[in-house]
Each structure stands twice: as C-alpha cells, then as structure tokens.
Amino acid sequence: MATPNSSQDASLSSTKSSRRLFMKAAASGIPIAFAGCVGGDDSGNGNGNGGNGNGNGNGGNGDVSSGNGGVSDEANALLWGGSVPVQSLDPHFESAAATARVLENITQGLLRVNWDYELEPFLAESWETSDDNLEITFSLREDVVFHDGTEFTSEDVIESFRRIDEGEAIAAGYMDRVASMSTPDDYTFVMELSEPFAPMLFRLATSDMHILTAEQAQQDSIDEPIGTGPFQFESIEIDSEFVMTKFDDYWDDDLPYLDKVTKLEISDDDNRLNTFQAGELDFINDVPPRHAEDLEDDPDVDFINRFPKSLVYLGVNCNEEPFDSRDARLALEYAIDKQEVMEAALYGQGQVATSPATPGSQWEHPSLEPREQDFEKAQEHLEAAGYPDGFEATFQIPEQYNDQVTAAQVIEASAAQVGIELDIQLITWSNWLSDVYSDQNFQATTSSYLALWFPDAGFHRPLHSDGAFFFTGWEDEEYNELVEEARTLYDMEERAPLYHEAAEMLKERRSGHIMLYWTPTLMARHNGYTGEVMSPDGSTFRFEDTQLE
C-alpha cells in the first residue's frame, strides 16, 4: 500500500515493508530517467519513479504559464512552484516528505508543534498524562467537522490509529507501544502505553498519525484523504500539479485566508527560480543556495530562510574494512574541513554540524565543538589504524542531491591530501536505497535526514542499532542503553543531559555518521504575501496563515 514509486526525502520514514515495496518498484523501472536528476536538488527528487521522466524539468512544466494564465487571474489563489512532486496522498503510508508537505494542510493530528518547539493542543483541546506516564487522556475539540461533513469524534481517532497499527503503517512501531485504546465518550480518547514512551506525543503531531474519518480509516488505500484541515483536497495530476481549496467549515473561523493553493511541480531548481522571477509563480521552495543573496537583496521578493531543515552526514560502513577501525574513521574526519564543505555545498547558508541534536534545541550539547581539520592528527590515526600510507574506499553519493555531490568533491580533495583515496560514484536514489541502505553494500556515502523537532529523530532512528534508519553498522551497547533510557523520560530537563552525553559518545567513539552540516529551507514569495508558511520543525508547509494584503 505504501505507494512504491514515491520519491522520498532522505528523511525516509518508511517501515521495512514499505521500503521493500519501494525498491521492487524502483527496480522494475528501467533506470533511464536519470537525465532529469542532473538538476535535482537537496530535497530528494527520487528517480525511482521509473520511466516517467519528470526530471527533465521541462516536460511537465511547460504549461506553467498557459494553463493558469499567470499569477493574478484568481484573487486569493496561491501558485506554488514545488521542488518534489506529490505522489500518493495516504497520510499513514506515504513516507515521501513532499506528501507530508501538502497533507499538513489537509489532515490534522491530535497535537502539533508550535514555534516554541513545544507540543500544543490541536484536535485535542487538552491532554493529561497519568503519574506513571502510562495513560494519556485526550479531550477532543467538539466543534470540528471533516471535509465530507461528518463530525469529528473519538471514534475517528481510534479507527485511524487502528488503521496504522493493523495495516503496518509507517508509525506502526509506535503503535506497538500502545497496550490499549478506549473511547469513554465521543470527545474523550484514552491511550494506554505498555511502558513510558516519551516520543509518542511528538509522533502524534506528525502526518504519519493524522486523523481520518472512521469510514475512510477502513480503507486499505486512500487516494483522496478526508481530513479536518483548513484546506481540502481538490485534484492531483502526478508530476504536474496538485490543487487544494479552502474548507469553508474549518473549525477556526478566521482561517484560512487563501481560497486555493495550486502546487506546480517543477523539479529543476533553476527552472523553478526562473519561472518565479518571470512572475508566473507566487511562491517557491528549495531556492538554490547560491541565489540566496540575490533574492535577499531583491526588493520585490520576500525571501524566507528557515533553519534547520535537515542534517547531512558522511556515513561509513563500520562492519567492513577500512572503516571498521575507529582510527580510520577519525583519520577521515580529521582530513575534512567541514566549514569549507558547508561553504561549498550551501554557499554559507547552513551551519556545521556537531551532533544529531537540532541546533537551538534543548537537547543540543551546550559546548560540544566539531572536529577541526588537522592533517597531522589524521596521519597519526592512519598509522594507528594500520594504514600509514592511507587507503582507498568507494564513496557513493546520491546524485540528485546537488549539495552532497558538491560536498563529496570537496571531501575527496581533502582526504586525498592524507592519502585517503575516495572513489566517488554517483548513484541514483533508488540504488542508494537498495545498495547502500538496505544491503549495506558500501564503504562511504553521504545522506541526510530531516531535523524534526524531537530528539528521537536524530538520536534513535539513524544511530540506535534498532533504529528505523540504522545502516552504518556502528553498534554500541552503552549508547543504545542511554538513548533507550532517554525515551522513557517525559521531562525535557531530565532528558536533555542524556542526549548531551550521547552526543559526546558519538563524537568520541566516532560513530558511523560523521556529521557534516545542517541545511536550511530557502523559500521565496512575491511581496504582498504575509503569514508564516513553514511548520516549526522545518519539514512541512502550513498555508493557513498565508494571506495577500
């Protein structure tokens, strides 16, 4: 059911089963659609989508101006030039970030993250946690209607969560921690956990656990989601356009301001920017970083920079020579000038990364510094690792991430100076998923994941041996225990020191993820539009506050 040929963000949040399906589909398409990925960008224009060839950046986009007759034809309609095409619209099964970006406006969860990076009540008016942290009771809003006119009740909540659990959806692993669910009345929902599990509440705020109507929750696959959001699904033409319109009975009477949001899929970065600058789009995301300064200086453009969006890292395979040796990993890290890598890849629009903790978050280590480039130390570690003359390793880079391809070349040049010969191989995203990620058949690679505003996203999923995205083979008992313990603590003040310790451990023991840099989301819209468009965790867009003055 997971739409297999979806393009995924590196922040793939797929379960094992959906990933396998994805790969099968990717393998069945003749990989000839590469041409398009040349101009791909850092947010994952997957080539797994077989022969549709959307990537040429022209085919599907030629009708940008004709079909819609320019920007101003319809008052109060927003034309959005999007970088990654929306594929399927099933909130529980579709792992592509592009889908989450539009679903955020259509379906809603019980909670959501606010700009202080705290959870706030949403479809639930309030919630209470029992003293033992095992029972969570949600009081639901009573004035909410779905897009099809039915009223929102606790029945919809329990059915939606059952669908996730029984259908093995993306968040099924979280539902495993739920011992029981009950609905004492129409507007109360109780969730009983089998053990204290702090990430649960954060997860409820993501589209993976959004609420559908009880009726729709019975369906195996969903093409037209019926949610409670400010916008309702109107139409989709894959790789071409996606339309959502204002929902008149939205529970917040003031919102949304816009009548219609049309997303035109324009995968090519420069093409998208040019179309925007020609005045044919109101809003674009994924502005190429090297144009950031021009747009900032442009008086007609509202340039939006939200930081951070995702973390780019250099992953090495700790199960195989040479990187099974901590010294070899350290030698490579000492050879890299991370600041230079970030400058090259992002034109200075990012920040060098030290740990998987989101910059500015409570769980970010207050004083941990990234390792500086130091050729002498690199040489010492090479000798300690038994490679006094350096070594060779393959370096597989997902080709559609322009920033990573650039970063890889800078890293290659620095590593060569200490005798580490990295052999760059540009591979497709589907090959990355199958060879590097699933089969762990690699020596070194680069990839990224979304920052997301909960610590598990960075500390557990990629780095814990049982994590959903674990693939570099760095296994450390102490680290695992620490991260597991942190998951049982609900109070961030108690929890944060554990993550600080974990971050030190990752750096000291040189885990398989050598952190490189945090990327921002760069967006631009024409002057006249106001209202925040990004969601606080940087992963999705919210158009409800956007208005044209």
């Binding site: 003749i30 990989p31 000839i32 590469f34 041409a35 990925c37 040349v38 101009g39 970065d269 420069d270 190429p288 090297r290 230079e340 400058e343 090259a344 080709e399 322009n402 391809v405 650039t406 890889a408 070349q409 800078v410 290659e412 040049a413 060569a416 052999d423 760059i424 191989q425 540009l426 591979i427």
Partner: protein, 295 residues
C-alpha cells in the same frame, strides 16, 4: 630500391600516391593537425601532469566561479577548480575513451563483418541480423542501458561504447569483404588451396583497410561525443575526474553567472569532434572516392 626492404616498388608507389592525395586534401590536413595536437597534449600531460598550472581536483571554495583572468585563463568552476587545467587534462580522458572503445569496436566489428562477408550464407544472415538488431536502438539509448545495468565508471563506458559501435564497423567490414570476395585474386588463392585463415588475413583484410579506417576515424568522433553525453547524464566518468561532458554537467546550472565553466569544455568537445570528422572526411575522399562507405 635499396632504402627499404619491406615495401615493394608497387606498394611504395601506392602509398606515395596516397600521401600526395592526402596532402592535397585540405580537410584531411586540418583534421590531422587537430588530432595530432590533441594527442600531443594528452601524451605530454599523461607523463608530466604537473605541466598544467593547477591540480585539477584541488578545490578553492573562496575563489569559486572566478571569471577568466591571468591566473585562471579559463576561470574557475563552482568549487574553485581551475577550468583550464581541467580542460587540458580532459583531453586524456576523451582520447582514451574514444580510442580504446573504437579499437575494441574495430576488432569485434571487423571480425564479425569479414567472417560474415567471406562465408556468406547462414553465418552471414545470423550475424548481420544480430548487428541490425543492435543498430535498431538509438546509440545513446543502448549505451545508457548498458552503463545503467553495469555501473557508471570509465571502463564500463568504454565497454558500452565498443558494443554500440561494433555493428557500424561490422557493416562496413562486411560490405568491403563482400566486394573483395569476388575478386579474381581470391579465386586464385582458393584455387591454390590456401586455408580460409590465410585468405582472410592475407587477402581479404588488407583490402578492407581503407573503408574501415575511414569508418573508424569518423566513429571515434561519435564515441567521444557519446562519452561526453553519458558523463553529462551522470552515467559516465565520475567526479572529480575532469571529463568534458561531466564538466558541462556540473556547470550548466551556472550558465547565467559563470558561462566559462561550460563554454570551454564545450569548445574542447567541438574541436575534437570537428578534428576527427575532418580527418575522416578527408580520408574518405582519398580512399573511397566513389562514396561506398556508410556512416
């Protein structure tokens, strides 16, 4: 004549005539000039890579996208690498790919073509239909598929290109072998009781060299172009090796701000392709005035 023992007077006269005609053909001479200079550049930089002003993969991020200047005659690219050094070193890759792949295609194609043309009948039919089947794919599509199935690397590109161009050579070799087959000297050799191997190698092949040479020199231009295309699509040479096609690939997004990143490698490709084409055209004028060779 005492100066040479390995050429008969007749052969000398033959080659003398060839050289005279070649020299009189302006296209051929210009083409040869370009090709020879490319070779000199490739060989010199192969044995003395330090002759270029900068390390072709040394990045210099603060100094990126710098316009052509005295320090960087062709500017710097998106990572601050010297475009001139990279274009010059790119010659090696282009010539290497072009030559190795076309040589392999010549060996395979000539074998198939001559065997088909000499034996005729069922062997001819089956071999040539196979060649037709391969030719029915557009070259770029076939090459893309082969490279995609293996994995993108320099050597796989060469293998793919060799396969793609084998049928073109085979067809020329077959038609040449067919016409030679009916000559009376073949009949004479058969009558003398010579073995097939002897006849193929000593009688048929030497008489097919002309058309094959022309075909080879024209096709080498195409292989160089195709290598650039594959690299441009990200399926050929891998970064940071300075292949011209790859340089265009990584530079085309910068066309508006830093056109030199793309223009110079593009000019290099154009020069090389024109050089080999002129040489091939000239050779054809000299060797095949009746225009029997297909492209």
């Amino acid at each position: 004549m005492s100066t040479s023992t390995w050429l008969t007077t007749e052969q000398k006269a033959h080659y003398g005539r060839f050289l005279r005609q070649f020299r009189r053909n302006q296209k051929a001479v210009i083409g040869l000039g370009i090709v020879v200079s490319l070779f000199v550049i490739a060989i010199v930089t192969y044995f003395a890579p330090e002759i270029v002003p900068y390390d072709p993969s040394a990045t210099d991020v603060p100094n990126r996208e710098a316009a052509p200047s005295l320090q960087h005659p062709m500017g710097t690219d998106d990572l601050g690498r010297d475009v001139f050094s990279r274009v010059v070193l790119g010659t090696q890759i282009s010539l290497y790919v072009g030559f190795v792949s076309i040589s392999a295609a010549m060996i395979m194609g000539t074998t198939i073509g001559v065997v088909a043309g000499y034996y005729q009948g069922l062997i001819d039919e089956s071999l040539m239909r196979l060649m037709d089947a391969m030719m029915s794919f557009p070259p770029i599509l076939l090459a893309l598929t082969i490279v995609a199935v293996m994995e993108p690397s320099l050597n796989n590109v060469i293998i793919a290109l060799a396969f793609v161009y084998t049928p073109f050579i085979a067809r020329v070799a077959r038609s040449a072998a067919l016409s030679v087959r009916n000559e009376s000297y073949i009949e004479a050799a058969v009558a003398r009781g010579e073995s097939d191997t002897y006849i193929i190698f000593r009688e048929v092949l030497p008489n097919c060299v002309g058309p094959l040479l022309v075909q080879g020199s024209i096709n080498i231009a195409f292989t160089m172009l195709l290598e650039a295309s594959l690299s441009f699509l990200g399926l050929g040479v891998q970064p940071p090796r300075p292949s011209w096609g790859l340089m265009i690939n990584s530079g085309w997004a910068y066309m508006g701000d830093a056109p030199w990143i793309v223009l110079f490698p593009a000019a290099a490709i154009a020069t090389a392709v024109i050089g080999f084409n002129l040489l091939g055209d000239g050779l054809r004028d000299v060797l095949d005035p009746k225009g029997e060779i297909i492209e």
